[in-house]
């Protein structure tokens, strides 16, 4: 119980810091923030910006007003030279798109990386293993956006097998939705697969040398069962750690991939906000993404204790 409480306190502290950081970004703008946001705006619009975002008040007041609004779902507004519109509507529609991309990539990564790692660990040192490892090493060095652009060109432009921009929601039909998501997902997943497989493989090779694997074999159970039921489980912790470390990169990658494939997610929102000087929108979106990331990490921590009984009892 005390354990959970401590974690909760820690999570809340981190969330507070993250929100403060997101809020504080606005103060980094050179000169008067209003001129950065709406340099060609009318006097009215400028006054509105100043008022709605409490820009004339002190930092603590600004922060708490911002936080209050944020918690209530008010994520600020987009400002054109003459009008404004709320950001939250946009975020609501775009969030699922980014989430889908992240989840699909994660899923693809796991279903490819885990069997690949188990297989290469089993045949470690053989020629097949070395070839696969070399390929993975190369894949690891390819930036996700590079792969995205290459795929967009080859598959989208040259071969015309799949569209290389746009999006259709899940509800509009499975293939309709999938065809827009395939290339972005693959672009994101490839580098992830390379990283995952390498780490999991070396972890499994180490596990396979342990005594309890020989013992399990000596019970007469099948080799497959030994590999999957006995050898993989202790390595699942490493898997989780790598997943945790990689989610951050995955989120960053999603942001860029969305821009390349014009998928209307939070990433594209960021890019458009930057281009359009929508710094308020930018700030809120960054906050949303950051908080989502913190919560995901909390989830991973919880999964940790589920997977390893030693962590649960505090023995580790």
């Amino acid at each position: 119980m005390a354990f959970l409480l401590r974690r909760l306190v820690r999570v809340i502290t981190v969330v507070l810091f993250v929100t403060f950081f997101s809020y504080f970004l606005l103060n980094l703008l050179p000169g008067d923030p209003v001129t950065s946001i709406a340099p060609f705006g009318t006097k009215e619009i400028k006054a509105q910006i100043r008022h709605e975002n409490h820009l004339d008040e002190s930092v603590p007041v600004q922060y708490f007003s911002w936080l209050k609004n944020f918690v209530h779902g008010d994520l600020g507004n987009y400002y054109t030279p003459s009008s404004s519109s709320p950001v939250s509507k946009d975020v609501k529609t775009r969030f699922p798109v980014s989430m889908q991309l992240v989840l699909y990539s994660l899923f693809l990564t796991l279903i490819v990386a885990i069997p690949l790692a188990v297989f290469t660990a089993y045949v470690a040192g053989s020629r097949t293993d070395r070839i696969i490892n070399t390929v993975l090493f190369g894949a690891f060095s390819v930036p996700d956006f590079a792969l995205g652009l290459v795929l967009a060109y080859i598959v989208g432009v040259k071969l015309r097998w799949l569209p290389n921009s746009g999006y259709a929601p899940f509800g509009s039909g499975l293939w309709n939705h999938a065809k827009y998501m395939i290339l972005p997902t693959i672009s994101l997943a490839v580098a992830q697969i390379a990283g995952f497989t390498r780490v999991l493989r070396s972890d499994m090779i180490a596990t396979l040398q342990e005594d309890f694997i020989t013992m399990a074999k000596s019970k007469g159970i099948s080799g497959k069962r030994v590999l999957w039921r006995h050898a993989l489980r202790p390595s699942s912790l490493t898997l989780l750690t790598v997943a945790g470390l990689n989610i951050g990169a995955l989120i960053g990658g999603t942001v860029v991939i969305e821009t390349i494939f014009q998928a209307p997610g939070l990433g594209l929102l960021l890019t458009q906000a930057i281009r359009g000087r929508q710094f308020i929108a930018l700030q809120s979106t960054v906050a949303i993404i950051a908080i989502a990331y913190v919560l995901i990490n909390v989830l991973i921590d919880i999964l940790y204790s589920v997977l390893d009984p030693r962590v649960r009892s505090g023995a580790l």
Partner: protein, 316 residues
């Protein structure tokens, strides 16, 4: 005395599947073909980047408009412009080399900053432990709570301000990028320095130095640092690759060096992806290949160095 062959035999018996011999050999990687390739490419590109203004190549933004063909100028078609021209008549080879200059400058600057600041903080945290460690680690954790690319992007976007008025002078956009990426690089490098310091501080020679009356900072920098440095070196090499990729990602998001001012690998990719992917794809692929080769070489080198020092650890 060296491991007796009887011990070796008994230990081999523990490995149920892996070819113990071959796996051991892999670990002791000599600077093979891959190592030499990596070193060659990196030397060539670094030298070219360093000497760019004095090399007998065109100025990067000089336009050879009269040579521009309607279907574009792909590489290896013209002797005078070996990598072709872009839509505005700029020589691709010149842009690539000057782009290397910018991208590598930013990457090296960021990693250097990360090593110095992160390294120092990590050393302090690992050596003094206790409260100092808690504070430093919490700071690291806070920065790590935001996905890296998001953090970098928000720092650059807000520090740079209005995209139509890019900052110049002392805090020009490259410096801002180096600073932002350096801040992002500090926590991971700091964490590694800390972990490494923790292991090394336990060793007896530290106790011996203290017993001789050496001051803390002297111990940290004279005794511990030389041992921590090799571990950080391989990570540093990989980090340079990561930052080069990050610069690409940031440019694609719309923050970064302005293409019309100066080429960088990132803004070249971003620019040509927008305008030329369908008709003149080679323009996009040229900087992508440059990035890929550089990151691949850095990863290879980092791997070789890590293997070398892993071996060193075990013979200690």
């Amino acid at each position: 005395m060296a491991l007796s062959s009887t011990d070796l035999g008994a230990n081999l018996a523990k490995i149920p599947t892996a070819a113990g011999v071959k796996v051991e050999k892999e670990a002791r990687k000599r600077l093979g073909i891959t190592g030499w390739f990596a070193v060659s490419w990196l030397s060539v590109i670094s030298l070219a980047a360093l000497l760019a203004p004095w090399l007998p190549i065109a100025a990067p933004k000089a336009d050879f408009l009269d040579l521009v063909e309607p279907n574009g100028n792909p590489p290896f078609h013209m002797a005078a412009h070996i990598l072709g021209l872009d839509g505005n008549g700029h020589d691709m080879l010149a842009q690539t080399i000057h782009g290397a200059r910018v991208s590598l400058q930013i990457a090296l600057g960021a990693v250097l900053m990360g090593m110095v600041i992160g390294g120092t903080l990590g050393l302090m945290a690992g050596y003094f432990k206790g409260k100092i460690d808690r504070v430093i680690s919490t700071v690291f954790d806070i920065f790590l709570a935001v996905p890296a690319l998001i953090l970098a992007m928000s720092l650059v976007a807000f520090l740079a301000g209005d995209p139509a008025k890019p900052p110049t002078g002392i805090f020009n956009i490259e410096r801002i990028m180096t600073l932002a990426l350096g801040i992002v690089a500090t926590p991971p490098l700091g964490r590694i320095a800390r972990a490494s310091t923790l292991t090394w501080s336990e060793r007896e020679f530290v106790m011996a130095a203290r017993a001789q009356g050496a001051k803390n900072f002297k111990i940290m920098f004279v005794e511990i640092l030389p041992n921590v440095l090799p571990a950080m070196l391989s990570i540093a090499l990989l980090s340079v690759g990561v930052v080069v990729i990050a610069e690409g990602g940031l440019s694609l998001l719309g923050v970064g060096v302005n293409f019309t001012d100066k080429p960088s690998w990132g803004n070249m990719i971003a620019q040509y992806a927008q305008t030329d992917l369908n008709d003149h794809p080679w323009l996009v692929f040229t900087p992508i290949i440059a990035v890929f080769l550089t990151v691949l070489s850095l990863n290879m080198l980092g791997d070789v160095i890590r293997a070398r020092f892993d071996a060193r650890e075990t013979t200690l």
